[in-house]
Symmetry: C2
């Protein structure tokens, strides 16, 4: 595997960052994870826009144009010969003295890594459990390098024998460790609103659009945890894994215990969207 570090392609094992980069010292930075499908990228522009917005909120000045980052993304996928996989674009605050003050840092760095796709994401089913408190702060909704609470939510879920953990705030669902949550209830498609602190997922956005096009009632709202127990269907979304059916919640079957009709329709529509609209 080769990576792209600040515009230079080099073998992953030779790519290194300064130990004083605040991305390492304080988890100060952002990342985007996106799907590569048949050599093309799903909603790359939307990912770059979200990255820029997050950088604005963190007052992390990006010295690269979206076009330059897009080119780095393309070049890295090409250099690895990966036509189907998962690509990650990371931006770090840059080097500074070991004090939690970003104004002391020099220039930020970017890193692009890519890995080939594992098993086909569509049609996958998972079991879900409550995985702990969502790390709500006054920087909610950002995909920062301070990612440990999400990693730990997944670890805790796996240790309990589940595939995924749902992060909660009080008695409200927020999001799963690397995906957004959708619930079908009384025929309506519901997802936690952005006020919950969840990530404004690119996959989430796409599913809301697809539901609208399909004439399905869909709504962003507060989602009480108890809705998962009497939901007809539950699924997770991410731009990388697409639509993934949740067939068990805290050990009990969701609906019939099989992916439901809305889930299957949204999954197929999402796959079609990725296949037809990804760009080079």
């Amino acid at each position: 595997m080769v990576v792209n570090l600040n515009g230079v392609i080099l073998p992953a094992e030779e790519a290194r960052i300064p130990v004083l980069d605040h991305g390492l010292l304080y988890g100060d930075g952002l990342f985007e994870t996106l799907a590569v499908r048949e050599g093309r990228f799903f909603r790359l522009e939307a990912h770059l826009r979200r990255l820029a917005e997050g950088a604005g909120r963190l007052e992390l000045p990006l010295p690269w144009s979206p076009g330059a980052l897009a080119e780095a993304v393309r070049e890295t996928a090409r250099a690895n010969g990966v036509r189907d996989g998962v690509l990650r674009l990371t931006v770090t605050r840059g080097e500074g003295p070991p004090l939690p003050d970003p104004s002391l840092c020099a220039a930020p760095s970017f890193l692009v890594t890519v890995r080939p796709a594992g098993s086909a994401p569509s049609g996958r089913t998972v079991s879900l459990c409550a995985g702990g408190a969502h790390p709500r702060t006054f920087i909610p909704g950002l995909k920062t390098l301070s990612y440990l609470p999400f990693q730990q939510a997944r670890q805790a879920a796996r240790q309990r024998g589940f595939d995924e953990g749902l992060l909660v705030h009080g008695d409200r669902a927020v999001e799963a460790s690397t995906s957004n949550l959708f619930v079908v209830r009384q025929g309506e498609l519901l997802t936690p609103d952005l006020g919950s602190g969840c990530l404004a997922g690119i996959g989430r956005e796409a599913v809301l659009e697809l539901a609208g096009r399909a004439g399905l009632a869909a709504r962003e709202t507060e989602v009480p945890l108890e809705w998962l127990a009497d939901a007809e269907e539950v699924f997770l979304t991410s731009s990388v894994s697409g639509v993934v059916a949740v067939i068990r919640w805290e050990g009990a079957p969701v609906g019939s215990g099989e992916p439901g009709e809305v889930t299957r329709r949204m999954s197929a529509a999402f796959e079609e969207l990725v296949r037809t609209t990804s760009e080079e």
Copy 2:
């Protein structure tokens, strides 16, 4: 400045970590910050114990004995000729594929950095404001590399013209961005209990001991935010900065607006403790 990376002393500008270290990719790791005073270390053993406990909670196996880490700490301070300063010991999860799964990572890394002390910490006063929601998760109380919420709390406070931001949970005080909180109210010394999610600060622990020795009533408890408004005194503690008086809370003077008697006694006792009990 030279640093110690996995036992090797080298110039900071040459010290690099692999870009695939999960310390960078996911903020997966821990750190300790400790005071160096006259070439000696304040409660180094307690810091190493807390590091080991945190590593246990994250299932991050440390391949180094506490003695080996202590020697790396000593060697780094010595190699920099720093006799008074601040030393940081960082442990990262290590290299792995870009997936938030720590079980895929190889060996962890450690890093020791040190910087000379700035202005003398004792006698310093700060203004404090409410600085946002504490990132409570099911890994509360750990000083992890996922540090951005704390850095941002301080940034937000500074942008509002305050020195420090207090992280809160609902209407309860938890801790400041890099220090623990103490409030003197009706003659009693009070600090948020560990159930609040605050760090089990080495400085906090020392102040509780010193208060006991001085015959002061001291208690760990829930601290409602409203207590800061009618407190006689408020101060912050950290093993690096010692006892720092809070003289303004949200713009209004705390007590007389000058460091109070308990704060001055605790500050002097803390300085004496550091001076007399730090070890080589």
